[in-house]
Subunit: 425 residues, 2 copies
């Protein structure tokens, strides 16, 4: 008998028929002898419908008072889901009980619409499990110290599920979603892309943050921090497939990297076309210049990703960084009118039509020449590299947006990602 | 400055435009210097939609476990409403904050889907009012001793509003609804029906329980018990009508009967065609026979209304009572197969095509001859009376359903209810 957490996304909960299928699937796991906690999202479309109503009443306001009410409203989507799923389970003959975030309670800070989980009290949940009940817990939500309802932000149900699994030391947390696992890259761009049986949570973190939008990134951080085995798998398989087959399907995001990992140097190719590049040309190369440039940008709440400062010539240097494309106009405005003049920059130039392509792999740590192999592959396709950024387990390049698909396909082939790799013994 | 509670029904909350109008109306009361607590219902149709989803998953189940989940689901309707109304108020420049039932908290027993309020802690609400905020509280819901969400049953938001007004000793509780007050009878049957400026809560209790479905009956009981001045008024008047005019509109349900009541003997004619009559003929007239008959009926959870036992002849008596028409078949079955044989009844007969018509008036207490005037009016129309039931402030008759409209019109005329009565000095 194991303690298992299942998480089902909005598509899986999208209609009463689908909810009934979720119940049948969970019932199968119960009959196999497992203790089950289930975390469903709101029915698909519901969160948007609810927030749409709020927006009609207050189109632009982002005061804390309005944000508090948005959480009050949005949290109802998951509350309906847990009630419906508990009823569906009972109709299948499986004893079950549902809880909202505050009933557990899932304690969070007070950052409405993007709260962070601080602690989870699992006493009540454990008591129910001991009585043989399936416990259905509303994802996406919690309660702050003043009894206000909070939500965790888009995709927050993933984080709820992992946090609950961590608090309860669950044996595995299964995220049922509309893809059947994590791929070496997006199959829409590279048809040969292959599903990974296992990926380390560090790799998953890079894949997620670089645009593989399968899991909320915070849920992966949580899984890594608390060593929760996390599996991404399809909710579209028939509910009655063999449970042993189901338990091994999808992709396992594991923290036990040395034992079970596939031994590929590069596990996947991630990409992101949401960025824009800006450059200050000819700024004086003196101590403090980076802060002088980036301080005001950070103050304006603009997130910065890749940063490059070239070696200086004649006491002058060029300073480039990337921001989210939505922040491009604001950033250019700030640099041209404030930061540029203040730093005596010769010129400010920018380009929103860029993309970032990354190779990700925990094996890179111990393999030399991986980056150069990447650069050669791009060079062979005639793709110019504008910026380079590296970390222990990834190398990213910024290139012209129009070469993105070409670059991803070339790298996927160069690193043999279409070839199945035998797991280490 | 007064402390005022407003309650808005589902129709008033039916769209964002209507919610905006509610906010404008409340803002007007705030600007007039009042402290405001607002209790909205779910948006019209929402509770039915939510319970409809649940019903698709578990059509017939009424276990406590399912009932608990129904409350979990249904309570979200009001939670959305309070969030939206709080946002609409803020958009009008009125500081406001919303609370669910459990946040106040509104403590109830654990009778899911028909819970009763046990206590209300108004500390948090008072603190907000002191800070100049409008407090928006979800109607229809509460929390039991084990932190489970409960609901108060259909129309429960009326009871929530009155209970909150009682707990806070509010100066008046205004129930905004889709009728503009309490009438002497249903204007669809008697076009001359007249709106009452004032009615005693006892009369309202009889009017409500007898089928004037303006207010949930428990809200009137609450108002009477805690002496909360209660006003029923229209939510369809323009939000910007003069506040003094609005404050005097509708019907005031008052407990100060001796001072302000209109001095009519009969205040209104109520009617109800939801009942059915059953009779056990020729049962032995011995001690305990009533319990022997009605005990099994009560055990089957069938509510009984009017009960008549005729004087006995030859040691035998006839025993009649009325039940809700929905329970007619079950009741007949129970009497024919169980209770009848057990009590040696000669025969069981029944009639679902009856109705109950009642005259209601606090003045009846001190006036003789009111009932006989009623019987004469019916007799003049050739209407046969099948059963009679009386209380201090009402007299009800059970008659053939087909005479209902005729009876109501005749009684409305006989008691001069189309004539305005001057309030006592």
């Amino acid at each position: 008998m194991a303690l298992i957490v299942h998480k089902y996304g909005g598509t899986s909960m999208g209609s009463t028929d689908r909810i009934r299928n979720v119940a049948k699937r969970v019932a199968k796991w119960v009959r196999a002898g497992h203790q089950m906690v289930v975390v469903p999202s709101a029915m698909s479309g519901e969160t948007n419908r609810l927030l749409g109503l709020a927006k009609e009443l207050s189109p632009a306001s982002t005061t804390p008072e309005v944000m508090r009410e948005l959480d009050m409203i949005a949290a109802t989507g998951e509350q309906v889901s847990v009630g419906l799923l508990a009823i569906a389970l009972q109709a299948e003959g499986v004893p079950s009980v549902s809880y909202t975030g505050w009933q557990v309670p899932v304690a969070t800070d007070s950052s409405y619409t993007k709260a962070r989980i601080e602690s989870i009290d699992d006493k009540r949940v454990r008591a129910d499990l001991a009585e043989g009940k399936v416990v259905v817990i509303a994802g996406f939500q919690g309660i702050d110290a003043d009894n206000n309802i909070t939500t965790l932000g888009r995709g927050g149900s993933d984080t709820s599920a992992v946090a609950i699994a961590a608090a309860m030391k669950a044996d595995e947390c299964l995220i049922y979603t509309d893809v059947d696992g994590v791929y070496t890259t997006d199959p829409r761009i590279v048809p040969e892309a292959r599903r990974l049986h296992t990926i380390s949570f560090e790799e998953m973190l890079e894949m997620a943050s670089l645009g593989s939008k399968i899991l909320q990134i915070r849920s992966v951080e949580f899984a890594g921090k608390y060593r929760v085995p996390l599996r991404v798998l399809s909710s579209f398989t028939p509910w009655d497939i063999d449970i042993n087959e189901e338990a091994k399907s999808g992709t396992l995001i594991s923290f036990e990297e040395d034992e079970k990992m596939e031994q590929a140097v590069v596990s996947g190719i991630a990409f992101n076309r949401d960025e824009a590049k800006v450059t200050l040309l000819g700024v004086p190369d003196k101590p403090g210049i980076a802060f002088q440039i980036l301080g005001p940008v950070a103050e304006a709440n603009i997130d910065i990703d890749v940063i490059i400062q070239n070696v200086s010539q004649d006491g002058k240097t060029d300073f480039s960084f990337t921001v989210h494309r939505n922040d491009y106009a604001r950033t250019m405005d700030l640099l041209q009118n404030t930061v540029g003049p203040a730093t005596n920059a010769a010129r400010v130039v920018g380009d929103p039509k860029i993309c970032k392509v990354s190779i990700v792999g925990i094996g890179m740590r111990s393999h030399v020449g991986v980056a150069s192999k990447m650069f050669r592959a791009l060079s062979e396709e005639g793709i110019n590299i504008q910026m380079i950024s590296t970390s222990e387990i990834k190398t990213s390049v910024v290139i012209d947006e129009k070469y993105m698909e070409l670059a991803v396909r070339a790298l996927h082939k160069a690193f043999d990602l279409d070839q199945e790799v035998a797991p280490a013994a």
